[in-house]
């Protein structure tokens, strides 16, 4: 598949495919708005944020895979994309290690 992308540009989705991805993005946006109007704290505190992030992550993945053609790209591009997620995970994890340990046990401030 990757060779096709490099050599001839074949293998991309056609215009209906792009419209389909666009529709997913629009639905995602509407869902985000709808979710923000509901109080989901009954699931667990902060569930609204998690739901919003999940929708955003799904939309971003669609953009990356189809609009940015990562799906048809060589493995090196896949590696680059995955590495950026890894770095994002580092940022979240090391930031949360502060927030989650501020008031617990011997490490509390």
């Amino acid at each position: 598949m990757s060779e096709k992308h490099i050599e001839s540009g074949e293998g991309h989705i056609a215009i209906p495919g792009y419209l389909g991805v666009f529709a997913v993005l629009v639905v995602g946006t509407i869902l985000t708005y709808w979710a923000a109007t509901k109080d989901m704290d009954w699931i667990f505190p902060g569930a609204n944020t998690l739901v919003a992030l999940l929708i955003a992550f799904t939309k971003m993945t669609c953009v990356m895979l189809f609009f940015m053609h990562v799906y048809w790209s060589p493995k090196l591009i896949w590696l680059s994309a995955i590495a950026s997620f890894f770095w994002l995970a580092i940022m979240f994890a090391y930031t949360m290690q502060d927030y989650l340990t501020r008031s617990s046990g011997v490490f509390s401030t």
Binding site: L76, S84, Q97, D98, F107, S108, T109
Partner: protein
Amino acid sequence: MQNADAIITDSSGEPKVNYLTNGSTIKSWLLTKDHKRIAIMYLVSVSAFFLMGGLYAAAIRLELLTPASDLMESGTYNKAFTQHGVLMIFFFLIPAIPAILGNFLLPIMIGAKDLALPRINLLSLYFYWIGGGLTLYALLQGGVDTGWTFYTPYSTTFSNTFVMAVGLGIFINGFSSILTGLNFIVTVHTMRAPGMTWFRLPLFVWAQYATSLVMILGTPVIAITVLMLAIERAVHIGIFDPAIGGDPILFQHLFWFYSHPAVYIMILPGMGVISELVSNFSRKKIFGYEFIAFSSIAIAVFGFLVWGHHMFVSGQSIYAGLVFSFLTMVVAVPSAIKMFNWTATLYKGSILWNTPLLYAVGFLGLFLIGGLTGLFLGSIGLTVHLTDTYFVVAHFHYVMVGGQVIAYLGGLHYWWPKMTGKMYSEFWGKISAMLVFVGFNLTFFPQFILGYQGMPRRYASYPEELQVLNIFSTAGASVLGVGLMMPVVYLVHSLFFGKPAGDNPWMLPGLEWRTSSPPPTENFETMPVVTWEAYEFGEENGLDTEEARRREAVSTVS
């Protein structure tokens, strides 16, 4: 194996058109796609910002000559150190080596005609100009007083200065950085000449590659952070302000997630320059090539894991502080690997004490002090005493000026003959290098003591008993200023009156020394095929014999 004919090229064989003479109109420069011309435009622009940042530094040191706040009132002083920081960090230290030396040399060093994305390269320069112009506009309108770190709540609640405009300038300038990094990565992956394997790449290229990784992974975060700051100021969405549901320490996490790796954006290219200088001016294959190459990558990766050491006393949890403190010690290891390997390379080398090597040796000493005092500050207990004192200022300047600026100056002198085709005055070069070294130490070493004695940074006044050391520091700044201005004079002088440099004035084997000085627009008249290892010195290639003859001739004349 290389042969002497391929390397010892004759200066009389210059092509009729080189990159400097290939068009002389302003349009030919502003619309150029030639990486070398873009590098020269960066050189002029970055130097202008360096000068402006330096003027602010002079104002700061003049104010601190006396204990009282008599030259500037406190608010003005706040603006002076903020603007010094903003101009120096975002518009000089970060772009200096990648955008000038990297742009000019990276394609030549790997045997390519240009960067992979020449238009993107020009666009990055435009972004730099737009971002810089916007920032200068804001400074002229009244400036900004938050400190270069833009900490909340200074920058959201209390500051009424031009935070938005400067933030936007930095935001736009960030794209310049991202595009340069992207271009370098694509170029190194796709444009290497036949035979130029990864482990034949000059270590300067490895350092640029590692820097580029940090640029594209980190810079978007600062851009987003500044954007969120602007959103909070403009439409009061609670992100960092606790009064509307935000968290000021979140700003510090996001800011330092980029800004600590940014320290490596500044210093890693300098380390690449030092690897070139140490190996080439001791005429020895560098000791531990692979270790130095991978230590650059290790610094780039580990550099992302230590940002919390800027936040030990900010309210961050003690657990997080312990983790960040430990990781800070870890990141010292790859830096130490480089230091040991550079020293081992110099050992028993055939050393040529020219201006570039003077800078390189200066770097080794100054960066050592800067790096080791970084470990002091990374120790979670000791840093409680030292945070926000002049000890931090001294440490930072030992790494940034003693490291990056010294390396940049060394690299500029080293490659100046290639960039311009002219030799500068070696005598004045050495005088300048020594003045910079002496002036720098006189300026910043007393600040370690001042900081340890408790002098806080960012105040226009201080107790009288600290004045003597402050006088030393200001006097040193004067010497440093003279040392830094001298190259402007003798390098510009060399453009008009300098002796022709020849293609390979240092008798070195790297690819950049196998094309004419200045290089033609396409860099090489024919595609080079690399059949030799990096830093391959030896009698069989004729370079050492030529160099020995040259040194003998020089010593006979003198």
